[in-house]
């Protein structure tokens, strides 16, 4: 089965892609920004193709590909047979032969059948051929939880990809980044795993999509691959997060502010490459850090962040770097997921545990 009512998009909400008009900034969903990024990329480059399960007439179960088949024809946006290794392997061949495929894995856990293709080929082919064969593939994965999805629909699978050399791994957290990062991913000559936090699909920001397009097409959008951003400045401690955890981290920082603590929030955006500079600059300033991520903590991206930060900022640290992550258990069923997900309270508890001198 696919998404549940809890997280399901109202049919048609993502609307059709906007072209040419110059509307003023208006409330735009994350989903719509992704849809526009795809449309704009396909418009800009006829080598860009979109395929996967239900991405054609249906427009994807989350409607991210809405309207693309109608606009670009079924040769450029099409449904495949139901086989993820097939989708990924075909993408490899198409990329070898001049195309820039964007593929959708319907849900995080349904990308696992393609794992061998991803690890043994997508990630390794460019290195194998000393760069003769480049694979400009974007693997879009609606990922992570918080939408009341049943089993297999809420996995945070980023560690599997981040641990695999050769892959670029991105996870946007804002509407604007959703647009720019997907454009940048499609333009990248390297394979990109593009993680779309499902629970943010219906989050909104005031943006003018036509303006974003002009910015990107005009080469004015600053690079986001490999560049983290300070999502909220602060002085007392740093929360390091990405994707679905960024809004939670921001909420925690807001709550902490009320308690008189100034917390900086970093949105990594790019897991691989990793922006050591931005992260370490912040931690060296604040002296304290908590990593927030939804995936089970063991051998995770969160572990990596902790390891890097303590390796590089050891003498700036007033306390160990702590983690607030998912538990080391399978993602829970809908009624139990809120016990699992990093929450504002759990983050604030971790911040409290950072051995503040002014506490007894």
């Amino acid at each position: 089965m696919t998404q549940t009512t809890v997280g399901a998009p109202a049919p048609g909400t993502a609307g059709t892609s906007d072209t040419g008009a110059v509307p003023a900034p208006r409330a735009t969903t994350f989903a719509k920004a992704l849809n526009a990024a795809l449309a704009d990329a396909m418009e800009a480059d006829s080598a860009v193709l979109m395929f996967g399960e239900d991405v054609g007439p249906l427009g994807g179960v989350f409607r991210i590909t809405d309207g693309l088949t109608a606009r670009f024809g079924e040769e450029r946006c099409f449904d495949t047979p139901l086989a993820e290794a097939g989708i990924m392997g075909m993408a490899v061949g198409m990329a070898m032969n001049g195309m820039k495929p964007v593929v959708e894995m319907q849900f995080d856990a349904f990308a696992y059948p393609a794992f061998e293709q991803v690890v043994s080929h997508v990630a390794k082919m460019p290195n194998r051929t000393k760069g003769k064969v480049r694979l400009p593939i974007v693997i879009r994965i609606p990922y992570a939880g918080g939408i009341g999805g049943v089993e297999h629909h809420c996995d945070s699978s980023e560690a599997y990809y981040a641990h695999t050399p050769g892959l670029t791994v991105l996870a946007p957290a804002t509407v604007r980044d959703a647009y720019f990062m997907l454009r940048e991913a499609i333009a990248s000559p390297d394979p990109v795993v593009f993680l779309e936090p499902k629970k943010l699909y219906w989050s909104k920001e005031e943006v003018d999509l036509a303006e974003l397009r002009r910015t990107f097409d005009g080469g004015q959008a600053p690079r986001r691959i490999g560049r983290a951003v300070v999502a909220r400045p602060g002085t007392d401690a740093t929360l390091i997060s990405y994707g679905p955890s960024v809004p939670t981290a921001l909420a925690a920082a807001a709550a902490a502010a009320e308690e008189g603590r100034s917390i900086e929030v970093i949105d990594l955006r790019s897991i691989v490459p990793f922006d050591d500079e931005t992260v370490c600059a912040s931690v060296r300033r604040t002296g304290r850090a908590v990593v927030v991520a939804e995936a089970p903590g063991f051998a995770s991206v969160a572990s990596e962040i902790v390891a890097r930060v303590q390796e590089r900022c050891f003498h700036s640290l007033a306390a160990p770097v702590l983690r607030v992550t998912g538990f080391d258990i399978p993602y829970p069923s809908p009624k139990l997921e809120h016990f699992y997900l990093p929450s504002v309270d759990r983050i604030l508890d971790a911040v409290d545990a950072l051995q503040w001198e002014d506490r007894p």
């Binding site: 049919p11 993820e84 290794a85 089993e151 538990f327 699992y340």
Partner: protein, 396 residues
């Protein structure tokens, strides 16, 4: 080289009447799906499969009526927010019922997310079945109690588990047969291929049962395969394939029954493709108008599995007004029990999150369970003290 008519080509009943087809040919399905009762409720003739007797049909018909009612009730509960999601088998109930009733107690059923009616027909408590879709836990029944595996979500993966269960039974010399279900879309997955091949090579008693309902969410069959039929895949594994009218309960009982007998008698695995139709959206979260017309669906209304069997049974006087009333009452009772059950809140216990990941909690999980326990205790204290422990309300 066979000179038999297509209809007469090898069947799961064994033998290959009407000629002397090569061994290979006997594995091909007939050109037309097997049908024993047509959409008007008239018996049709098939030299290979005898029509099941009246009692058997009547019993199964009752399950059909109940099955439809379960689908309708579950849909209603989704609308009322009591179920998170429901992939309905409305229109496919003949497949659901047949899959369950052809099996004996020693057999195993491997269902998918769409096969709730089959699972209930096999005897599993409806409320336990709906645990998954209600969101309480990933599965709600003990697979060993009725020998029904959990409903599989990752497509085609369960077919391999079915092969393993059958293989283990075979090694121990048990007479178990395993019936494994999947959809037309699932046949494209690599696991489908590997499962059929393993079953054939190890010659294990598995009946692979494809409900070809013409769609995989929005993707029509023609985008899934260009094979003459899905049953034509069987020969590639060296097992027989058969096609059956998936809305004809009688034909399903006959063909699946033959496949099960064949497997139990040491004849090995076989593949049965039922031609049916998904009358409703993929799930309530799906908008089927985006990829198929009302007319498409309309065409399948006259082929409804219940109507035709009802006509047939009434014509033969096997089904009476009184019998119908009794069946309706049974269905009402089940629906009422489901409603009642789902309208009662169940307490979920967060401590269980850590309980079953390993037989014995790792020290990591003990720590994590303690963390959550403390948080909850603190929240409870806060609630007792009248302060709000929730996120929105700030903290203690």
């Amino acid at each position: 080289m066979s000179t038999a008519t297509n209809k007469g080509r090898g069947s799961l009943m064994g033998g290959a009447p009407g000629g002397a087809p090569s061994a290979a040919h006997a594995l091909l399905p007939s050109d037309e799906p097997v049908q024993l009762v047509d959409q008007h409720g008239h018996p049709t003739d098939d030299e290979r499969y005898p029509l099941p007797d009246g009692e058997r049909l009547l019993g199964a018909y009752g399950r059909l009526v109940t099955g439809r009612r379960i689908n309708d009730q579950a849909n209603a509960l989704v609308r009322q927010g009591r179920l998170a999601v429901y992939p309905s088998s409305h229109g496919q109930e003949a497949c659901q019922v047949a899959a369950a009733v052809v099996l004996g107690g020693e057999d195993w059923l491997f269902p998918t997310y769409r096969d709730t009616v089959a699972v209930i027909t096999r005897g599993v408590d409806p409320l336990e079945v709906l645990t998954l879709l209600r969101g309480d836990w990933h599965a709600g029944y003990d697979p060993y109690e009725h020998r029904v595996a959990t409903q599989a979500t990752p497509l085609a993966t369960q077919l391999l588990h079915a092969v393993g269960v059958a293989h283990a039974a075979k090694l121990r010399g048990e007479p178990t047969v395993v019936l494994a279900m999947c959809g037309d879309g699932a046949t494209s997955e690599g696991d489908f291929h590997e499962a059929l091949n393993f079953a054939a090579v190890f010659h294990v008693p598995v009946v692979f049962f494809i409900q070809n309902n013409e769609f995989a969410i929005s993707v029509p069959l023609k985008n899934q395969t260009v094979a003459p039929s899905l049953a034509h895949k069987a020969i590639g594994y060296g097992m027989p394939g058969e096609r059956v009218d998936g809305n004809d309960l009688a034909a399903l009982l006959a063909v699946l029954g033959a496949a099960v007998d064949r497997a139990r008698d040491g004849g090995g695995p076989s593949l049965v493709e039922a031609h049916t139709y998904r009358m409703q959206a993929h799930t309530n979260a799906d908008d089927a108008t985006r990829y198929r017309s009302a007319d498409d669906v309309e065409r399948w209304v006259p082929r409804d599995p219940i109507a035709r069997m009802r006509t047939y049974l009434r014509t033969l006087d096997l089904l009476t007004d009184e019998g119908e009333r009794a069946l309706a009452d049974d269905a009402d009772a089940i629906a009422a029990a489901i409603r009642k059950g789902l309208n009662t809140e169940v307490d979920v216990n967060p401590a269980e999150l850590f309980e079953y990941v390993y037989t014995e909690k790792t020290s990591q999980l003990r720590e994590q369970a303690a963390l959550l326990r403390e948080e909850l205790a603190r929240d409870a204290d806060a609630a007792a003290a009248g302060t709000d422990g929730s996120i929105e309300g700030g903290r203690r």
